[in-house]
């Protein structure tokens, strides 16, 4: 068994994951990064994206979760992710997401000015990331 470190994933409403793991990759704001035991300490912001957990060895993904932004703290012995929201990929339904995209497209087409479209665009980007995570 590979060397492990403590990984915790918490959202404001509950503790989702707390176990020793071999490796985790997280969507940092400057690109995805992986954390192995003994990583140099750092604090990063996390953007919406996919969190991969490798529980036993660092080649097999055991758990995939969608995180909706947040923060992560890495120290020598532990890795903590404070997510604004975290959803296991199995709970993301591609059909419902695609329906949402269709809705949004309609709203953008109906909007009269660029300002009205602005909030929809942001949501659109966000959904695109979610779909990417769901299909990966």
């Amino acid at each position: 068994m590979a060397e492990t470190f403590d990984f915790e994933l918490v959202s404001p409403e509950k503790l989702l994951f707390s176990k020793p793991v071999a490796m985790v990759t997280a969507p940092g704001c400057k690109g995805e990064y992986g954390v192995l035991p003994g990583h140099a300490p750092m604090i990063t912001e996390i953007k919406p994206g996919l969190l991969r957990i490798y529980e036993n060895e660092d080649t097999v993904v055991t758990n995939r979760l969608f995180v909706n932004g947040g923060f992560a703290e890495v120290t020598q012995t532990r890795f903590t992710v404070l997510a604004n929201e975290a959803i296991p990929i199995s709970e993301l339904k591609l059909e419902t997401l695609q329906a949402l995209v269709k809705d949004l497209d309609q709203k953008i087409a109906d909007a009269n000015s660029e300002e009205e479209r602005e909030p929809y665009r942001a949501e659109q980007d966000f959904l695109a990331v979610k779909i990417l995570a769901a299909t990966s």
Binding site: E8, E13, K14, L15, K30, P41, I43, T44, F71
Partner: protein, 296 residues
């Protein structure tokens, strides 16, 4: 001396009151359990957030990044914002009036120091009482928090955003929360918590946190602080709200338990009275009959 019929009516009315209070106690009990679970499950995030903040703060001391205003304060101490957290429903003992009393005390204390005080009321009961005396000070009030399916984090952060916007507009220099701390089911303690300037814990479990050497930031320390601090405030506020909600249910449960017991006592007393007067009435009737027979 009330008549037998009056007594009978009183007994039946107290009995139905007892039924209501004991039902309310049950309801409060099950709501309490849910609220407690919720408060419990929010705690890990809060704890980890404060751990992250303290390692951030320890690195802050070494670097040249200016300390944000949320931690350092505005450098003045002239305007105070008080957030009074009460419940929407009454019938929970001294739960709300304790918060109101403490808020009132604080307002007078700060005003005697020539500070300007403003108020935010969370919960209908507190608002109703406080607006009698301090209507001009209340900026806004919030009610019906967590009415549907329990409190969500977004409700807490919404309130937090409003407070932060006020802070950024320079509407106040420091902010305090007055709320009921959930000590146990039978005891809630009115507590004042300072929200802004934000106090970062530099100790965890009695041990001082060692600053991490060579801590790196992504994108950079300033940006992280700017987005992490409001989040931390929201988490603190959310935790406080949850605790107060659980406290309200606990207070209601205790109050209703007492009421049920009092109603029981009252029924016993009334029943005793009722039986006594009934017996007295029978005795009187007998005496009348006997003395009538003797006279013949």
């Amino acid at each position: 001396m009330p008549s037998l019929k009056d007594l009978k009516n009183r007994i039946s009315s107290v009995k139905s009151t007892r039924k209501i209070t004991s039902a309310m106690k049950m309801v409060a009990g099950s709501k309490l359990r849910r609220a407690q679970e919720k408060a419990e499950s929010a705690r890990p995030y809060e704890r980890r957030m404060s751990r992250m903040l303290s390692s951030l703060a320890s690195s802050l001391a070494e670097s040249k990044t200016p300390v944000p205003r949320l931690i350092a304060g505005t450098g003045k101490d002239e305007e105070v914002l008080i957030v009074a957290i009460t419940s929407d429903r009454g019938l929970c003992g001294a739960f709300n009036s304790n918060v109101v009393r403490e808020t009132r005390r604080m307002i007078h204390q700060h005003e005697s120091q020539n500070k300007k005080v403003s108020l935010i009321c969370v919960g209908r009961k507190g608002r109703d009482i406080l607006r009698k005396d301090f209507a001009s000070k209340i900026l806004f009030s919030i009610e019906n928090l967590g009415r549907k399916g329990g409190m969500s984090f977004s409700e807490g952060s919404e309130l937090n955003d409003k407070i932060l916007a006020l802070f950024n507009d320079g509407k106040f220099d420091s902010c305090y929360i007055v709320y009921n701390r959930f000590k146990s089911v039978i005891s809630q303690i009115v507590t004042i918590k300072q929200l802004i300037p934000f106090a970062i814990e530099t100790e965890a479990d009695g041990a001082k946190i060692e600053p991490l050497i060579g801590l790196k930031f992504e994108p950079n320390q300033k940006a992280i602080l700017e987005s992490l601090l409001p989040k931390a405030l929201a988490v603190t506020l959310y935790g406080t709200l949850l605790e107060s909600m659980a406290g309200a249910q606990a207070a209601q449960m205790t109050a209703m338990d007492n009421a049920t017991r009092n109603a029981g006592d009252m029924i016993n007393k009334l029943t005793l009275n009722y039986n006594r007067s009934r017996q007295a009435f029978i005795t009187k009737e007998l005496i009348e009959i006997i003395s009538g027979a003797e006279a013949v």
